[in-house]
């Protein structure tokens, strides 16, 4: 027994000798984000290496606000991500329900086409999507343009289809015998049962929208309708810009997501792994 203990201690030491330095490397950029955000630019661009946070966060925040109205862009980002998440959950859970619970002509075709969106690069659609939304509909710089086109994302459909098809049919048949309408069965039986999956989906969708870069870059040119990532990226090219301020923006974009990750880790993991492991 003691021999086995010694062996496993050796393995434990080896394991930590590898993983702890790696973990430190991985967390380092996040640490530096905080360091940069709390230091003046003269310290960021100085020959001396600084590895500890300073106390200039609010000064840098004010510099950022001078360079652009970052709180406005955060507001745009929050509204877009929340509305997108809610709408996408409604649309995709309905579609997932239909594909999981009903047999109908064209079901295979619908599933096939939807799967196609997962494998084809977004670039194939982004140009005509832009022409359609921006030129033909004239919707640049609107909430609709920021929120609606990305709703084509089929992740939720496949996700919810899987969730609903794992539920036993008897649950729903009992309700049908009582004469409950299909819509109400979906709403009052199906959806409540899928709550954990919905939570996972919500997190993934919110994150996708929050960090979305290319579409908002193209569709929102008006400063008042820019999302936070696009606004932050637009500062990189300026000469007279506060990098401490930019890093404050990075922190403000990142901190809420890290909180979500820490407190809702279980749902977060479920969201990422859905579809990979059957």
């Amino acid at each position: 027994m003691s021999q086995q203990n010694a062996a496993s201690r050796k393995r434990a030491i080896a394991l930590h000798a590898v993983i702890v330095p790696l973990a430190l490397i991985w967390v380092f950029p996040i640490w530096m984000m905080v360091v940069f955000a709390t230091r003046p630019d003269s310290a960021i661009f100085s020959p001396k290496v600084l590895l500890t946070p300073g106390n200039r966060f609010w000064e840098n925040f004010n510099l950022l606000q001078d360079d652009l109205n970052f709180t406005r862009t955060l507001f745009v980002s929050v509204v877009v991500a929340v509305v997108y998440t809610v709408l996408s959950m409604i649309l995709t859970s309905m579609a997932g329900w239909a594909l999981a619970r009903y047999k109908f002509h064209g079901r295979i075709a619908v599933v096939g086409i939807i799967l196609g969106t997962m494998t084809l690069p977004y670039f194939v659609v982004v140009i005509p999507q832009f022409i359609l939304v921006a030129r033909d509909f004239g919707l640049s710089n609107t909430w609709v343009a920021l929120i609606v086109p990305p709703l084509f994302n089929s992740l939720g459909v496949l996700f919810m289809r899987q969730a609903f098809s794992m539920m036993p049919a008897e649950l729903f048949d009992a309700a049908r015998i009582d004469g409950v309408s299909e819509w109400k069965i979906f709403l009052h039986v199906g959806l409540p049962l899928a709550r954990p999956m919905l939570a996972a989906l919500a997190i993934i969708l919110f994150l996708a929208s929050w960090n979305n870069y290319l579409w908002p870059l193209l569709i929102a040119n008006d400063t008042s309708m820019m999302t936070a990532p696009v606004a932050l990226g637009s500062l990189f090219g300026l000469v007279d810009v506060s990098w401490g301020g930019i890093m404050v923006g990075a922190v403000l974009m990142t901190a809420p997501m890290l909180a979500v990750f820490v407190f809702l880790q279980r749902f977060f993991m479920a969201g990422i792994t859905a579809g990979a492991v059957k």
């Binding site: 921006a134 030129r135 004239g138 640049s140 710089n141 040119n221 637009s234 990189f236 300026l238 000469v239």
Partner: protein, 422 residues
């Protein structure tokens, strides 16, 4: 939000216009943005009812945002936007309705005649004018007098690029940690453009119908760049890095459009005052032309702006009066393209920062020998090709500058469908 903000009912607009002072928004970049800010005091003295809001953005940001907005039928554009002269034809060719015609607003033949023809032709669309010329960018060599003196080098003796390289070696030997010069080698072709222009070679022929980038003048220009890099006299520095280098005192000379004067003067630490000088750019041969143009912008008014008249009155003040133009020259070194402003007494004044030199006299003397260049609607296509060809050539992937530019010409031809000139 613009879509909700545009007036659906004409009556509403009218009533709103009566009670509210007009506000116009301008997109601008670099030192041009604060230069516009500097004109506001004078403008508002004349037009207290018009508020001008200048948004300071990055150059590539303005460019990509304007293009995306034009592609979206103009939604999202501010009332006024800055654009580079050489790139404006892209907007004219692709989105003829994006920028407003300024002629009916008052930019008639008489008003146009106040500007030189080379600043106007990219803006002309038949009888329409889709912008008002702003500044031009005679290329100048800005140099550190003290670094040159340490090396026993005189700027007056530098006539050719080989003289410049020789001086560079001495300057670097005499000044520890100083690099002779920088070019935006990683993201631009600035020296190539300037020296090509100096040598009378454009990327496109003057009628814009063929590609001329592989002609001798451009080949000579690319050779100069390679010589500088190979002799380790030139390192890469984008706009921001060059500003960092100059304020850190780690670069001895920078070549750019004259508008760089303001950037340099406003970013250099106080103790550098009096240590900088300006000289004409060297040439390839002893008797060669020593002038080129780099940069230079215009202001355009968005066609779907609700405040075109107000916007035009701002343009005609800031760009069309000596007062507006000289303010921008004084504060930010923007060289007026308004001809009458060139006779303003200010241009003959010596500058303390430049060691008492009469900078503008020298700069303006370049204007008449600059050969205008046709940017065409394909300027960014060509520039992208040349960036990658230049990088490859500097890394030794072509046998000669001629071979590199022959390849570039062929690639630009693929992209544009234009033939390579014989």
């Amino acid at each position: 939000m613009k879509i909700f903000g545009t007036c659906a009912v004409a009556a509403l607009c009218l009533s709103a216009g009566l009670v509210q002072a007009e506000e116009i928004t301008v997109w601008s970049w670099g030192s041009a943005a604060p230069a516009l800010d500097a004109t506001l005091e004078g403008f508002n003295a004349k037009h207290p009812d018009i508020t001008v809001k200048v948004e300071h953005l990055g150059y590539s940001d303005v460019k990509s945002r304007v293009l995306a907005a034009c592609a979206a039928g103009g939604t999202g554009l501010p009332d006024v936007f800055q654009f580079q002269n050489v790139e404006m034809e892209l907007i004219g060719a692709q989105f003829p309705d994006c920028a407003a015609d300024l002629v009916p607003l008052g930019f008639d033949a008489e008003a146009q005649a106040q500007f030189p023809e080379f600043k106007l032709f990219a803006l002309r669309q038949g009888d329409r004018m889709i912008g008002m010329p702003w500044d031009s960018g005679p290329s100048m060599m800005f140099y550190r007098r003290d670094f040159f003196e340490n090396a026993g080098v005189s700027a007056d003796d530098i006539v050719t690029w080989s003289d410049f390289a020789e001086a560079g070696a001495k300057v670097q030997a005499a000044n520890e940690g100083v690099t002779m010069t920088n070019d935006n080698l990683n993201g631009g072709t600035e020296w190539l453009q300037m020296i090509s222009n100096e040598q009378g070679c454009g990327f496109f022929s003057s009628d814009g119908e063929s590609i001329t980038v592989n002609q001798p003048g451009c080949v000579a220009a690319l050779d100069v760049v390679k010589t500088m890099v190979d002799a380790e006299l030139m390192t890469a520095g984008n706009f921001g890095e060059r500003v960092q280098n100059l304020s850190a005192g780690s670069v001895a000379a920078l070549m750019s459009g004259a508008w760089f004067e303001g950037i340099l003067r406003n970013n250099a630490p106080e103790d550098q005052s009096g240590k900088w000088g300006v000289m004409a750019m060297p040439s390839v041969t002893e008797d060669g032309v020593r002038a080129a143009n780099y940069g230079g912008s215009l202001l355009a008014i968005a066609n779907n702006s609700d405040n075109k008249e107000a916007a035009y009155s701002y343009l005609s003040y800031a760009l069309g009066t000596n007062e507006g133009q000289i303010t921008m020259l004084r504060e930010f070194g923007l060289v007026p393209s308004l001809v009458s402003a060139l006779d303003d007494p200010y241009v003959n004044e010596p500058s303390e920062f430049w060691g008492g030199q009469k900078v503008w006299e020298l700069v303006l003397s370049r204007l008449e020998i600059i050969e205008p260049m046709n940017g065409t609607a394909y300027f960014s296509d060509a520039d992208q090709v040349l960036q990658s060809v230049q990088t490859k050539y500097l890394n030794g992937e072509y046998d000669s500058a001629q071979a590199a530019l022959d390849d570039a010409a062929m690639q630009i031809s693929f992209a544009t469908g234009l033939p390579v000139a014989e």
